[in-house]
Symmetry: C2
């Protein structure tokens, strides 16, 4: 069996943890498996490198930033190679040049295009554990790139796809995917299985265990994913195309308090208005999430949408700057909101799911500001202060607790 195992920065933050990871890999190796390990930079080392860079130049060129950041993972893999050697297991560390990991050209947020597998296969044939730098790639100019947030997960999944691995294990500081964040919903239950699509919606919704780019890639190439803890040996959650256990209606409830809402009131009701508005934000690289358009008074319309908290000021400034061009009447923003979502492939074939969610919120006296749905997801915007209570109520309503 060929296994790709990915460990994040906290899992390799110090000597003891490096040895823990080494031992977990060696267990599989000793069973006869081929083992490829993908590592992030140690602990907060990437942040330290960023601080170092911005001390030199508060706006460092992205090409040089990637050149600097890529050393973080190289440090991790080299030290891991030394730890495995100390444990008498043949191992070899490889960076993005050595693999090679071909990406698009854009620095800081590149996408993997192709992974050469020749060197890795050769090392595996020689019965070595192969330790690969996550997060980094090389573009067509032979320059380092980095993959952006969740990059090491993406590296692991892409490697698993390229190597036709039998399994891709993502080790995190939680021991799997839960029906809700256990810190907020004490009765939350760990899922044995979840579909790629549900995971995608959960990742997007801020459950934060896996980055959605890695889940998208796993879905695309059918890579069997397991999310499990780097701290214990519990089984984790399998992410795959179809779950084999009897379908639950709902797989999970997610709460996101990072979103803020902007309302643009009294836009003229002419074609192209929505395009103009969101084009202004797109040019500022501001990601817009939920969008709701409603007919306003006397031939105008209102558009509400959510953006990340960090983008609020820039978004408002951009829209105020374009007031003349857009011709709206008022601009409101609301920070004290929360996005509550339920996700479940089972809801597609099951009417009444939305009703049950809304009923539970009504019973808790939680007011709903906005609603958005997809085939496998229902999201509502509520007041931030109601967030935890609402989440628990919905979790209970669908009998998700243990």
């Amino acid at each position: 069996m060929l296994i790709v195992k990915k460990f994040g920065g906290t899992s390799v933050a110090d000597k003891e943890r490096i040895y823990n990871v080494a031992k977990r890999c060696i267990e599989d190796y000793n069973k006869g498996d081929d083992v490829v390990v993908v590592l992030s930079a140690m602990g907060k080392y990437t942040d330290e490198l960023i601080d170092m860079a911005t001390d030199i130049n508060e706006k460092p060129p992205k090409r040089e930033m990637d050149m600097l950041l890529s050393i973080g993972e190289q440090m991790s893999v080299a030290l891991m190679g030394m730890a495995m050697d100390k444990l008498h297991v043949p191992a070899v560390s490889l960076n993005a040049f050595q693999v090679s990991m071909h990406t698009t050209s854009v620095h800081g947020n590149a996408r993997l295009k192709r992974i050469d597998t020749e060197r890795i296969h050769r090392e595996l044939e020689n019965r070595r554990i192969v330790i690969v730098t996550g997060f980094q790639g090389v573009n067509k100019y032979d320059d380092y790139t980095t993959l952006g947030r969740g990059g090491s997960d993406t590296t692991a999944v892409a490697l698993a796809a390229a190597l036709h691995a039998d399994l891709c294990e993502i080790f995190t500081d939680v021991d799997g995917i839960y029906t809700a964040d256990p810190r907020i919903v004490p009765g939350a239950r760990k899922l044995k299985e979840i579909t790629y699509d549900e995971m995608l919606d959960l990742a997007t919704l801020g459950a934060g265990v896996l980055h959605n780019r890695s889940v998208e890639m796993a879905k695309k190439y059918g890579v069997p994913l397991v999310v499990r803890s780097s701290l214990n040996n519990s089984e984790g959650t399998v992410v795959k195309e179809e779950v084999s256990v009897e379908r639950m209606l709902i797989s999970g409830v997610a709460l996101d308090t990072e979103a803020v809402r902007i309302a643009v009131i009294g836009l003229k009701d002419v074609p192209g208005m929505a395009f103009r508005l969101f084009d202004i934000l797109a040019r500022k690289n501001i990601n817009v999430d939920m969008i709701l358009q409603s007919i306003g008074r006397s031939g105008t319309k209102d558009i509400s949408f959510t953006v990340n908290r960090g983008d609020l000021d820039e978004a408002v400034a951009a829209l105020e700057g374009a007031r003349a061009r857009l011709g709206y009447k008022e601009l409101h923003s609301e920070k004290n909101i929360a996005k509550l979502s339920i996700v479940g492939a089972g809801m597609m074939s099951n009417p009444g799911v939305a009703a049950r969610m809304f009923e539970s919120l009504y019973n808790e006296n939680v007011n709903i500001n906005m609603i958005a749905t997809s085939e496998i997801r229902i999201t509502v915007i509520i007041n931030e202060k109601d967030g935890v209570r609402a989440m628990n109520a919905v979790h209970d309503a669908f009998d998700l607790a243990d």
Copy 2:
């Protein structure tokens, strides 16, 4: 003009110094020169990486060690790229993969075989300053190698040779080559020029300004070298094939207190004995320096030689282990010695140089233990306690002071 400039670790140890280096490079760039900068790892960062490695594995595999150490220079060049960007000068940093720097396979002490210049030339044509990692290379297996002591000097000289540079400037914490170490001989004078051969002997003799591998390479390819200070703008010393000023008899006096002497007494006087003895040391990778063989009593011979202080215990152990095979009578070692050398291409055509040196030592009542000479060098072994006094006496005897 194409200039290769090399700055060591202390020259890039912090933000301020990085900017100093950036500005010096930009001065040349603004004159219209093509500038290639070779950097070492910042300050003591290589030592920190070694500590990190040996904490994980007291005997880390050399292949992984090079993988780890190579990040040091990559950090320097990326930060330098950011500093130059901040100063509004286009620059690009390149590591050994990006250049590429082809070396022999051996880790920790590889030799440069070939440098691809295509990328560098292309960047220079685009009027960028090119910042290259010193000390590192890539072997035929696509693995990082490091060049060993003085490696960044070698990188700079090799790059200058490959690029047919007009000049290779080595910046150090001294402002040139002196007739003697100014910390020991206060009147020592900075040389305007020195030949490769003299520099080679001085480097070998422990003057320590340039590593001999880089001087050898400069001589082989006729690279015009300048050794100058990274702290001030003084002119430095030019190292080249023939010096143009009128020849001085002696270029410099060097003192080396790192050597220790081993004497093997009463070896059987049969052919092959010297080979057997030094083969034992060569197999332990122990470098032998001065060798002196003399006829002992009754058909035996004595062999004395010097080794580095750090190799003494291992050398003695190896020789004691081979006592039966070598059949010697006694084994002595002497730690309190110093090697004092004078170097000068001028002495070839000038008899009496040795005599003048020995006379000055006699006048100072310094006893000579061993003597070795080459065409342009005379070295004597004296007592360590006499070292400083002897060095000053010889320096005076040849009128080297200002």
